[in-house]
């Protein structure tokens, strides 16, 4: 089976600092894939490379066998990769529903002219997107706060909204950047269920970054471990758990 996403020797340097060095892995369709590593290991930078925020200094990134190095982030999103942000980046002044509608704007078909004149194509498209957004909010248990300003949501819900918004782009591959950060154990359990639901019911491929080892080990089927930008381990959770290099990398932190 061919890989949905494959990194081949992806590397990026900022001046003298090599933030991500020669990282190679394949994600196959339907994978629930974990990307872990200590602080500053280059996980988020890796996401930024995949989603086109940064351009790799060298190496290649393929999405469904198409080279996506250096494409604009919105093009990459349109191809089917959506992401969430570690430091929540919602459209704060807009409502929850509006945030999700923007995620769906990609599939919006009415012209700008019809929007400016408020003609039927724009009106029907807008209400279609709103309906779709509401459906997604139902799934992610956010329907009751649809009209709330996203900045006013509690932290856990903001994280969920990030996922809803990314889902609204109808991606094939979903990148989640520390989705469980700052959540309590109950919320984490809910989130784990949601992530599984997204994979099983919506058939998405998921790549997630997470600090909470228990969370990652619990839901991911394959894991890549980064340390100081280098890939130090790659395999199923059981293998990762016993990998001496991983234990060494984490020793300072997780004792």
């Amino acid at each position: 089976m061919s890989a949905v996403l494959s990194l081949k020797g992806a590397t990026i340097r900022f001046g003298g600092l090599v933030a991500v060095n020669d990282v190679t892995f394949d994600i196959e369709k339907g994978d629930l894939f974990g990307l872990i590593g200590p602080n500053g290991a280059g996980k988020t930078t890796c996401f930024n490379l995949i989603t086109g925020v940064y351009r790799p200094t060298s190496g290649e990134i393929f999405f469904n066998e198409k080279l996506i190095n250096g494409l604009a982030p919105n093009r990459i999103c349109a191809m089917g990769i959506a992401r969430t942000f570690q430091n929540i980046r919602l459209f704060q002044a807009l409502t929850v529903l509006e945030n999700v509608v923007i995620g769906g704007f990609l599939r919006h078909k009415a012209s700008l002219a019809s929007a400016l004149a408020y003609l039927p194509p724009a009106i029907t498209e807008t209400s279609r997107l709103e309906r779709e957004a509401m459906d997604l909010l139902e799934v992610l248990d956010l329907a009751d706060v649809a009209q709330t300003r996203s900045a006013d949501l509690p932290y856990g819900k903001q994280r969920r909204l990030e996922i809803a918004r990314a889902m609204a782009t109808q991606p094939e591959l979903l990148l989640l950047d520390e989705p469980a950060a700052g959540m309590n154990p109950n919320e984490k359990e809910d989130l784990a269920q949601t992530v599984r639901l997204i994979r099983d019911q919506f058939g998405k491929t998921i790549l997630l970054i997470e600090h909470d080892m228990k969370f990652v080990m619990g839901i991911c089927e394959k894991i890549v471990v980064l340390d100081h930008g280098e890939e130090i381990a790659y395999g199923p959770p059981s293998a990762i758990r016993n990998d001496p290099k991983v234990i060494e990398a984490y020793l300072g932190e997780a004792v």
């Binding site: 989603t51 086109g52 925020v53 604009a72 982030p73 919105n74 999103c77 349109a78 959506a82 992401r83 942000f85 980046r89 919602l90 459209f91 704060q92 002044a93 807009l94 509006e98 509608v101 923007i102 995620g103 769906g104 704007f105 990609l106 919006h108 009415a110 700008l112 929007a115 400016l116 004149a117 408020y118 039927p120 724009a122 009106i123 498209e125 807008t126 997107l129 918004r165 990314a166 609204a168 782009t169």
Partner: protein, 411 residues
């Protein structure tokens, strides 16, 4: 969509424009001119709001697009109107289109740097662009050549530093206000659709918009092009209303004034921009008309009163931890107390001969009041008077319903 409501609104809007025209005919030429200029400022403020408030691209050179529209169409009319044999209003419509196209091309040029620049850097580029446009007009005519060797063409004479005058007069007040209404309608329509949300998303967070597949580039450039097209059309109307235009009509201050309108109205709020445009345009004109000089004592008393009000209101905002109603009551009390103090001081200070004899003409105070109100609003309500609210019937109902309740609680 309810087509009936829509038809009624359109008829009402056009009717409103003709009503303004009819009413203004009852006044003298100078009042008519003010009504015309007020309409143009509404267009300018609302169109800048599209760029600044809705799309979040900080542009402070809006007068440049206004200028481009005015000069392009003024020049075209001087050259071609006589031979065209077209009736005035038709020609004027054509000119509005021409002004809009030229200005939106300029908007494209300014919009492109906005792809790489953010915030205050973009602001300074738009400011610079405005100055370049003004310098080009002031220096006209000139030869465009390659180091003096190959002459490409001669840039036409636009009056240089003096006026471009003898522009044929076509004064259609209703058209001026119709442009304002159309501008408001277009912005409102945009905000009602998913397209509008995409514009807002660029303002809120560019990185996140990109990650959601929004073509940020296209949206920024589009916002600049639409916004400047309206300013260009307004320029065309101005040129044919005034028949004589000067580079200084479009100086940096004008951009700042338009910006002030947007900011005071509440960045992003169409209602706010439109109302602020009318208020801020009318206020200095009223002052200008007031021939009676303001004495130094009165001026000083007002300044002290305003400062006192700002200080008190800020205290209630930041230091006072009462209920919301008590805070509101505090604001009103601050304003009332400061007004009384200022009123009392007027007499006290005017008793001092030096202050009484120093007089300021109302017309000289207008920009001072402008600048002062800009700072005051920033200090006590940085989100602008209307903040992000829009006028709508439901909003009005909400405000009216809440108010009596809060008053009952306060007393």
């Amino acid at each position: 969509m309810n087509w009936g409501v829509r038809a009624v609104s359109i008829v009402a809007a056009v009717g409103f424009c003709f009503l303004i025209q009819t009413v203004s005919l009852g006044f003298g030429a100078d009042i008519q001119r003010l009504i015309a200029l007020a309409g143009l400022y509404v267009t300018l403020a609302v169109s800048l709001n599209l760029i600044n408030g809705i799309t979040g691209q900080f542009s402070i050179g809006h007068a440049a697009f206004y200028m481009i529209g005015a000069y392009t169409t003024g020049y075209l009319s001087i050259q071609f109107l006589k031979n065209s044999g077209m009736p005035g209003p038709v020609w004027l419509l054509l000119m509005m289109l021409a002004g809009a196209i030229m200005a939106s091309l300029a908007g494209l040029v300014v919009g492109l740097p906005s792809l790489r620049l953010k915030g205050d850097y973009l602001a300074i580029v738009t400011l610079g662009f405005g100055e370049i446009v003004r310098i080009i007009v002031v220096n006209s005519p000139f030869d465009v050549s390659f180091f003096g060797v190959f002459k490409f063409f001669t840039f036409p004479n636009l009056g240089g530093a003096y006026a471009l005058d003898k522009i044929p007069a076509i004064r259609e007040l209703w058209l001026i206000w119709l442009l304002a209404v159309v501008c408001i309608a277009v912005c409102r329509n945009l905000l009602k659709t998913a397209h509008g949300l995409a514009f807002l998303s660029v303002r809120e967070d560019e990185v996140a918009s990109l990650a959601m597949g929004v073509n940020v580039t296209r949206i920024k450039v589009t916002a600049f092009m639409i916004g400047s097209a309206f300013a260009g059309a307004a320029g065309a109307l101005l040129a044919h209303y005034e028949t004589s235009i000067l580079p200084s009509t479009f100086a940096m201050d004008v951009s700042f004034i338009i910006l002030t309108m947007v900011v005071l109205g509440g960045t992003g709020s169409i209602t706010g921009s439109a109302l602020a445009a009318i208020t801020l345009f009318a206020l200095p004109e009223v002052l200008r008309r007031n021939k009676e000089p303001v004495t130094g004592g009165t001026f000083l008393a007002i300044v002290i009163g305003v400062i006192a009000a700002v200080v008190l209101i800020r205290w209630f905002q930041n230091e006072y931890h009462g209920s919301k109603n008590k805070k509101t009551a505090g604001y009103f009390a601050s304003v009332a107390a400061s007004a009384i103090v200022a009123f009392g001081l007027t007499f006290a200070l005017n008793a001092i001969p030096a202050l009484h004899d120093k007089a300021f003409e109302g017309s000289k105070l207008r920009m001072v009041i402008f600048a002062g109100s800009l700072i005051i609003v920033m200090l006590i309500r940085p989100e602008g008077v209307f903040a992000h609210h829009e006028f709508s019937w439901t909003w009005l109902k909400k405000v009216l319903r809440i108010k009596p309740k809060s008053e009952a609680l306060a007393t």
